[in-house]
């Protein structure tokens, strides 16, 4: 069993530093296994948030060697033998303790999203949707809310002042899934532009790079939202065409 050197952040918002741990790694282990081994054998007070150990609960987000990842999905054989591995909390959010951060910003933003308001049922009292109507949005439903995309997004990671007016990639997925829903009746265009601040995104695609569910956040959600915003606020031809058509959606 090789011994691995781990540099794990210990501390809280008032102060802290990386502490070195040497721990044995078994074949097939992931970073979370080693964190648990450190917790069990060397630092019983090490704070770490985790739950499913299967990449589906989105709890164990961290920055491993500087890259936002799920600890439970990061295999140890990814790293070169003998090199130390750093494990830090996700830096985009306030520190609570050690590897645990306060992600409540995301819950604040979640509450602001105008919810789905479906159209009246058809004359026979039912709703009908075809597979092609929902193919697009099923991808977005894979989101496990690990908030790695929110963490890596430089719009808020490096510019705290933008947090007020920016929903972040996770909620652009949410907004796209609602906006593209075949039964939805809500016009979220003003919300997407002003409250969610999609214009702040400069599509550098880091959210897509770190998504453990491989959701094409930028290509399939953010850019379509930007294009829909352009329809509504920037394109004079679309604006003119809409003058001759009845508006199907109601403001949020």
């Amino acid at each position: 069993m090789p011994t691995v050197t781990m540099h794990v952040f210990r501390g809280d918002a008032r102060g802290g530093d990386f502490k070195e741990y040497r721990v044995e790694a078994d074949p097939g282990m992931v970073v979370l296994d080693l964190i648990h081994r450190i917790q069990a054998t060397q630092a019983t007070d090490l704070a770490v948030r985790w739950n499913c150990k299967a990449g589906k609960c989105g709890s164990c987000s961290a920055e491993i060697d500087g890259k936002p990842r799920l600890m439970c999905m990061t295999r140890m054989d990814l790293f070169n033998e003998g090199e130390p591995i750093s494990v830090a909390p996700i830096r985009g959010f306030p520190a609570i303790r050690d590897l645990v951060t306060d992600v409540s910003y995301n819950y604040v933003k979640a509450k602001q999203v105008p919810p789905l308001r479906i159209k009246p049922p058809e004359p026979d009292g039912t709703y009908r949707m075809m597979q092609e109507d929902i193919d697009r949005i099923q991808e977005f439903h894979k989101c496990i809310e690990c908030f790695l995309c929110q963490d890596v997004c430089h719009v808020i990671r490096d510019h705290e002042e933008n947090k007020r007016a920016f929903a972040g990639p996770r909620f652009f997925i949410k907004l796209a899934s609602l906006d593209m829903h075949p039964l939805d009746t809500v016009d979220r265009s003003a919300f997407v532009k002003d409250a969610a601040g999609v214009g702040l995104c400069n599509i550098t695609k880091c959210c897509t790079e770190v998504c453990p569910e491989h959701i094409h956040i930028t290509d399939n959600a953010i850019i379509p939202l930007k294009e829909r915003m352009a329809d509504e606020f920037f394109d004079p031809v679309v604006w003119l065409l809409r003058k001759f058509r009845s508006k199907k959606k109601q403001p949020a």
């Binding site: 918002a13 802290g16 430089h154 490096d158 906006d179 550098t204 930007k226």
Partner: protein
């Protein structure tokens, strides 16, 4: 907004903890994109060696000004004279279209925001800009008009396809033209195919052709179109780079043939 949102971040002194070669990609983009900008600007200023019958450089197509040697659209507009510099070149009538299309392209935006703006240079690295307003203010808010540049780019695809068709029409020594295929013909077709791949895999194209629809089952043609463009769109970065190389290399090939540095081989 919750007060907790602005509470202190983890106190980690290092600006980033990445140990991989994160700088390799932005550096490559700067070198490749920078080289293309330098070459295309130089080529546009030359106003010579863009025509080696029957090949016309994409930088000079369509020929709109009276100085152009290619006869398809020539003899029309007056010559372009840049103020102060005083250089004439039909390329200046042309390159703004494809240039702005690439400048506002969603893929290239990612590339140059990362590599030239360093905003951010790589994921989980600090943004080099102290203040950040994204694409909400002038001039970057104009990126929202990308679709209009796409319309312009489609016109250029039509024109370059016409040039590629004319590349089968070789001049006879005795006068007139004859059908033929040269290496240059293949170069021009490869270029227009890659440029078309880039243009029709565009995110705005995807939206305009079908992405704006909410209920696809009621718009089956737009759904099929959107579906095809979505598959193409997955390769948009590949097309972006390959078409950049192809357009530069096509100009270079025609320039070298025109200069007599290389000979265009006739296949048929």
């Amino acid at each position: 907004m919750s007060a907790r949102v602005t509470a202190a971040r983890p106190p980690i002194a290092a600006p980033h903890l990445r140990r991989d070669a994160w700088w390799a990609l932005p550096l490559t983009v700067v070198i490749v994109l920078g080289s293309f900008i330098v070459y295309s600007t130089w080529a546009a200023f030359q106003n010579a060696h863009y025509w080696a019958p029957p090949y016309l450089s994409p930088f000079y197509s369509p020929c709109l000004s009276a100085t152009c040697l290619h006869v398809t659209f020539g003899y029309g507009l007056p010559e372009i004279q840049l103020p102060i510099i005083g250089i004439l070149s039909p390329a200046f009538l042309i390159l703004w279209g494809p240039g702005l299309f690439r400048l506002t392209c969603y893929y290239y935006r990612k590339a140059y925001y990362r590599s030239f703006w360093l905003s951010p240079p790589a994921c989980a690295l600090p943004d080099a800009q102290r203040r950040y307003t994204g694409e909400t203010r002038f001039p970057l808010v104009l990126q929202n008009y990308h679709r209009y540049l796409w319309y312009v780019a489609v016109i250029f695809i039509v024109l370059l396809t016409w040039d590629a068709v004319l590349a089968f029409r070789f001049p006879r020594p005795a006068g007139g033209t004859e059908f033929g295929i040269g290496v240059g013909t293949l170069v021009m077709w490869a270029n227009v195919i890659l440029l078309a791949g880039y243009t029709f895999s565009c995110h705005s194209c995807r939206h305009v052709c079908g992405g704006h629809v909410d209920v696809f089952s009621k718009a089956p043609t737009r759904y099929r179109l959107w579906h095809v463009i979505t598959r193409l769109n997955e390769q948009h970065p590949t097309f972006a780079w390959l078409s950049l190389f192809s357009v530069g290399l096509t100009d270079l090939y025609i320039r070298l043939v025109s200069l007599g540095v290389i000979r265009d081989l006739r296949i048929i």
